[in-house]
């Protein structure tokens, strides 16, 4: 009986473990900092076509142009910039504003040279203190 129980337990653990590990690449998408995004765009632009991805960047001061729940703005980091169009599929977060640190899910439109973000996340509650600190604080 002990052997039977052990076999069943091991089979369940290994079976589900295998499924978990082997399937994780299928429902996944890459994350890019702006610098990495431009590296891929330069070396292999086709790779980005219709690729759902997450891009990180900071909202450029004064770049936000809102139209209802949609918005055009620019994200910047490390001296690089990327125009973004928030499609309005999801509402923009409360902390979306100039200087906010964003994580944006969407696809890159090469023809328009803009990132079309369906979902935008900005810094929220538990990291508020650091996000709110001016650059010279905490150093």
């Amino acid at each position: 009986m002990k052997l039977k129980v052990s076999i069943v337990v091991i089979a369940v653990v290994l079976g589900v473990g295998f499924l978990v590990i082997s399937s994780s690449g299928k429902d996944a998408h890459p994350h890019f900092q702006l610098k990495e995004f431009y590296e891929v765009l330069k070396s292999n632009p086709q790779k980005l076509d219709n690729l759902f991805m997450t891009i990180y960047g900071n909202v450029k001061e004064g770049s936000i142009v809102k139209k209802g729940i949609q918005a055009n703005f620019i994200v910047e980091k490390d001296g690089l910039e990327l125009p973004v169009f928030a499609t309005g599929k999801n509402l923009l977060p409360d902390m979306f504003k100039d200087g906010a640190i964003l994580s944006m899910d969407g696809v890159y439109n090469r023809q328009l040279n803009q990132f079309e973000a369906d979902k935008v996340l900005a810094k929220c509650a538990s990291k508020y203190e650091s996000a709110a600190m001016p650059a010279n604080m905490g150093k």
């Binding site: 009986m1 002990k2 039977k4 129980v5 069943v8 337990v9 369940v12 653990v13 589900v16 473990g17 499924l19 978990v20 590990i21 399937s23 994780s24 690449g25 299928k26 429902d27 996944a28 998408h29 890459p30 994350h31 890019f32 997450t54 809102k66 139209k67 209802g68 729940i69 309005g88 999801n90 509402l91 409360d94 902390m95 504003k97 640190i101 994580s103 996340l121 900005a122 810094k123 929220c124 509650a125 538990s126 990291k127 508020y128 203190e129 650091s130 996000a131 709110a132 600190m133 001016p134 010279n136 604080m137 905490g138 150093k139």
Partner: protein, 687 residues
């Protein structure tokens, strides 16, 4: 903070020395320094509270979380609004629980106490070291020279998102859970170190584990309630890294609560219980690490922390320490007997444990996947909520089946006749609900494809009904058996069964609460959403409701014109009609809180918060969030969220039952309280 490190160190070292040299004087010193340590940490916490309440802006933490306009209540809750305060609060709770545990165990099993103190002091010292050596964890840090450049005397204030009743109690309740798991861990390790691996340690950890498990569950649900009411995105769970982090120790804690039962009743799973209590505590530290280190991204959006390496080293030490003692005591941890049958309660518990561990692995894998891929493949990739649902939903359903089936199985082996008798009603209910669900979907709503029929939802409803009917049948049978002896009224007898054998029947009642919550979770499968663009006085239909924008206004709060506005708000008043009848009204807002800009000393920064209108019913919620104005027309996003109230109802049940389980109030006291109405000795036989 420095003193607390000193007392922690003295208590730890004198404890180790006392154990090593068997010197009672050092053991007494270790215990007394623990009490001193508690006094010092409490003083630190009180000092921080004083600084926050009095808005001492020479302190960086105070400046970042308090402003002159913030009410005193929120100034106090700012203790856990940021990292440094949270870490101090963590340490305070740890020492508070340590003192309570030591005072209790000193009476029950004094030989374990020195070891327990050494382990708990080791953990506390870790947090004291972080407070002293990490800039981001020191709540008393004054501004460095040239760092504080604003001109007027004010602070940033508490993040408006945190100014919500659920967010006031969610962090401390969750911390109760995270921190108190250190006590069962310390008791288990002390038992291993002393070689006293008898039944007593499982009895000593039982109430602590229950308390931790209850607090974690309550903390998770309060966080969900806050997200649902405050974030305005229509949901309460998103498989976010921080949410997952809190679920991890809850899963292993649930497994542990069941597996210690097997050890107590059958003398089995002794090694496994030691492993499980270690994993549970490790998951509490891992959860804190995920929340505070910035190793993965989250909507809670953490980063820029210096704490990661501290936590990694600490977790490695826990693993090495626990593994060493488990291995050295392996021969004494052998099971008294093997599992005799798959159709036994112990086998049910074992498979429930396997499922919990598999779920834990899935959660860790999915949560850490971006960190793994970034480290090993040099490309950061994350899995989606769809991936989590793909695994966690079927695993959760299997778990639901075991939740219902476990109590119907007998210890050792369930005879065929008993099996049939016990499963007859629950299985009948399961199939009735299952076929009724598909019948209604197919014949009434005319859905034909599997996707439209929503197979998983049907299984989930059926399994929830299976659990509920099994528990209700058990309650009814026990009540009938009881009142046939006691001659009580049915209602009194029904109430008394919960005090007759609290652990068993209140345990079943927890199952009932979880099944109700599962019904609510299943409602998520039927959520629908849309965006409406309406003028004032216009209405549009959605999912059988007519949703009208009744009014739009902008206001400042408080409305008293002499007071400075706390926030300004754009408010949309919404009416919801069904069959031409007004069934509910509400208002959704976007509030704008002026924020003090530390870099120029002006209130030129703004923090917006979304305030949804949630119009709840037993069957579904109409959830409306104002999105903005487009060419004079109002944009609202509408979600129809079925069965959400079942989630909260199940949670309230879970909470009430667990509070009853935790309070030391059994049948004897109930009888003493309400008066003796029947022959107690007869009743107690059934206890």
């Amino acid at each position: 903070m420095v003193l607390s490190m000193g007392t922690g160190l003295v208590s730890l070292l004198s404890g180790i020395w006392g154990i090593w040299k068997r010197d009672k004087e050092y053991l007494v010193l270790s215990r007394q320094t623990l009490y001193l340590h508690f006094i010092i940490i409490s003083f630190s916490l009180l000092s921080l509270t004083y600084l926050l309440v009095n808005a001492d802006f020479s302190i960086a933490y105070v400046t970042n979380h308090v402003n002159n306009a913030l009410p005193v209540f929120y100034r106090v809750t700012s203790i856990w609004a940021g990292q440094a305060g949270s870490m101090l609060f963590w340490n305070f709770l740890l020492i508070l629980f340590s003192v309570i545990a030591v005072l209790h165990i000193q009476k029950e099993e004094p030989v374990l106490v020195p070891y327990i103190i050494v382990i708990l002091m080791g953990i506390s010292l870790f947090f004291s070291i972080m407070g002293n050596f990490s800039d981001t964890s020191d709540p008393f840090r004054v501004f460095h020279a040239g760092e504080r450049i604003m001109t007027s005397n004010d602070g940033r204030g508490l993040n408006p998102l945190l100014q919500h009743w659920a967010m006031v109690i969610h962090p401390p309740v969750l911390y109760f859970g995270y921190v108190s798991f250190a006590i069962p861990y310390a008791i288990a390790m002390a038992s291993l170190m002393t070689g006293r691996i008898n039944l007593k340690w499982t009895r000593l950890v039982r109430r602590w584990t229950l308390f931790s498990w209850f607090s974690l569950g309550a903390g998770i649900m309060l966080g969900s309630k806050w997200a649902y009411e405050e974030l305005g995105w229509g949901g309460y769970w998103a498989w976010d890294a921080v949410e997952n982090a809190s679920l991890m120790p809850w899963l292993t804690g649930t497994a542990f609560l069941h597996s210690i039962l097997v050890q107590e009743k059958r003398g089995m799973l002794k090694v496994w219980n030691m492993v499980l209590v270690t994993i549970s505590f490790l998951m509490c530290i891992f959860g804190t690490f995920l929340t505070r280190s910035g190793v993965v991204n989250s909507v809670h959006a953490f980063a820029n922390s210096t704490l990661g390496p501290f936590f990694v080293v600490f977790m490695i030490l826990i693993v090495l320490f626990s593994t060493y003692y488990i291995i050295t005591r392996l021969s004494e941890l052998k099971s008294d007997r093997p599992i005799n049958s798959f159709l036994s309660r112990e086998a049910g518990f074992l498979f429930n444990n396997v499922l919990f561990v598999v779920m834990l692995f899935t959660l860790i894998w999915g949560t850490m996947y971006p960190a793994f891929t970034e480290y090993f493949l040099k490309e950061k990739v994350s899995v989606t909520a769809i991936w989590f649902n793909k695994f966690m939903v079927p695993l959760g359903l299997l778990l639901m089946f075991l939740t219902g089936a476990g109590p119907l199985l007998a210890w050792r082996k369930t005879a065929g006749k008993t099996l049939l008798k016990n499963f007859r009603l629950p299985l009948t209910v399961l199939f009735v609900v299952f076929f009724a669900y598909f019948g209604i979907r197919y014949f009434y709503f005319h859905y034909t494809s599997l996707e439209e029929l929503k197979l998983m939802a049907g299984i989930s409803f059926a399994l929830s009904a299976f659990v509920i009917s099994g528990v209700v049948e058990e309650f009814l049978q026990t009540t009938r058996a009881r009142i046939s002896v006691t001659k009580e009224s049915f209602f009194a007898g029904f109430l008394m069964i919960f005090f007759q054998n609290k652990r068993r029947y209140l345990g079943y009642a927890v199952h009932l609460g979880l099944a109700v919550m599962f019904v609510g979770f299943t409602g998520k499968a039927f959520t629908t959403e849309t965006k409406l663009v309406l003028g004032k006085g216009e209405a549009e239909s959605f999912q059988g409701y007519l949703i009208e924008v009744a009014d739009y206004e902008q206001k400042s709060f408080p409305e008293n014109k002499n007071a400075a506005p706390l926030y300004t708000s754009k408010i949309v008043h919404v009416n919801v009609y069904k069959d031409d009848h007004l069934i509910n009204s509400g208002k959704t807002e976007i509030r704008s809180y002026p924020l003090y800009n530390l870099s120029n000393g002006k209130y030129d920064d703004v923090q917006d918060t979304s305030e949804p209108a949630i119009m709840s019913g037993l069957y579904e919620d109409v959830y409306v969030q104002f999105g903005g104005i487009d060419e004079g027309r109002i944009i609202i996003q509408v979600w129809i969220n079925p069965l959400v109230n079942w989630v909260w109802a199940g949670f309230i049940g879970y909470t009430l039952v667990l509070v009853l389980l935790l309070v030391p109030f059994g049948e004897k006291r109930v009888i003493a309280f309400f008066g003796k109405k029947y022959n107690t000795s007869v009743v107690m036989q059934g206890s």
